[in-house]
Amino acid sequence: MTGQYLAFFIFALMAITGGVFMINLSRVIHMVLSIGLSFFGVAGLFIMLQAEFLAFVQVLIYAGAITIMMAMGTMMTQGGDEGEKPKRRLHNVLSFLSAVLVGAFLLYGIYTTSWPTEPTDLGANNIKEIGVTLFSNFVIPFELASILLLVALVGAIVLAKRDGEKD
């Protein structure tokens, strides 16, 4: 067993246990923390795939920003918390079955297809290549994404602000 397998195993375990705990824990803030673990595991998988830039963007945006934002959101929306009173047993069972079905279908597809086994070497310093491609082939999507972010920024402030508040 090489260290790579071990690392893959640990990161995959982190990603999946984080997700499973999110489903099973009862307090919302614990769920948010466990999903943070999951995001971190995914970032680890990105490193294994030679996507260091993306891995640390993932840590910065997901494990850092989104987890914290959701934790703060949980704190601001207390009272809507821990109220799983009406037990929709049938609904839960059906949802579980459909999720398992989706997963099984995907896994069946993955294991019956013969994938290319040899990885392409993307180069040790592919961050430069990402930049060049982003600003040549994908420059219009890039600009659109920046506009989207601006709109989201302004929109979030407008939505979350109280009505009739000055300033």
Binding site: F53, F56, V59, L60
Partner: protein, 334 residues
Amino acid sequence: MFGILDQQFSWLNFTILALAAVALLLVVLLFVMYAIYFERKVIGWMQLRKGPNRTGPWGLFQTVADVLKLLIKEDVVPKKVDRFLFLIAPIISFTPSFMVIAAIPFTENLYFTDINVGLLYYGAISSLSITGILLGGWASNNKYSIMGGMRSVAQMISYEVPLIMSFLGIVLMTGSLNLRDIVHAQIDSGIWFIFPQFIGFVVFLIAGNAELNRTPFDLPEAENELVAGYFVEYSGFRFAFFMLTEYVYTFALSSLMVTLFLGGWDAPFGLTFIPPIVWFALKFLLLVFYLFWARATFPRVKIQQLMEFAWKGLIPVALFNVMLTAVLKTLGIF
């Protein structure tokens, strides 16, 4: 990065990695111990006091005694806290602070990883600590700690933006995120980035100070309004963990600043007979002294001033710096 990972997994490799990490941890802990002593002495002198002077010669063992006291204290967990989060929050907060040090090259040969996205690594990993602070404040089930935690998050997220933007000028100049490449670029061109990137340096200095939650930006733990901020309910070694986080970040951020702006291990004026690690340490101590100096001389700002300063002051200046660097780079001046 996969140098050791690619080899067959063996306990020898594992032991080597673990021992290197433990050695670094000991160095950092030693630094933290004497940084606290140094800080108290410096502030004492500036306020015409003596500072700690009873335990050991010149009070040298004062912080050792303090640490021992913290370690053998009872680990108190208040009754109404969210027990799991309360226990885990200091660890979440501390671990990233130690992880970021791995990216910093101390000399030509003394570095832990030669990671090609070193700067991004620093920014990304250090943002994880905020989660620990927020959860610690929340789990304590105390209004002062939750207020401190919220303030801390707002402040650290706001100041992270100018902090990362102030890197960008350097990244534009060198075309690399690798910290070793950045130092080599400074050695090759013979000029430290503090001169061509002076605006970036000033922004970094201020934003870094705020990122460390140190005076004049220590709102999250403002003693006279919030008791002590997010760690009110903590005592013993869990409190020590939060303190440790702060000082380890002081170590990491000062080292990063030396690497980015002060030429890393480069010797100025051709004084190469002094070994590079000494140069690194000297520059590093200068910046640490600056942080203590600022703490002794500046009054604390108000919370709205703090936030306005980040969004209306520092971020436009940092953006202007990026634009200016890009224009000068295009014109071929840099």
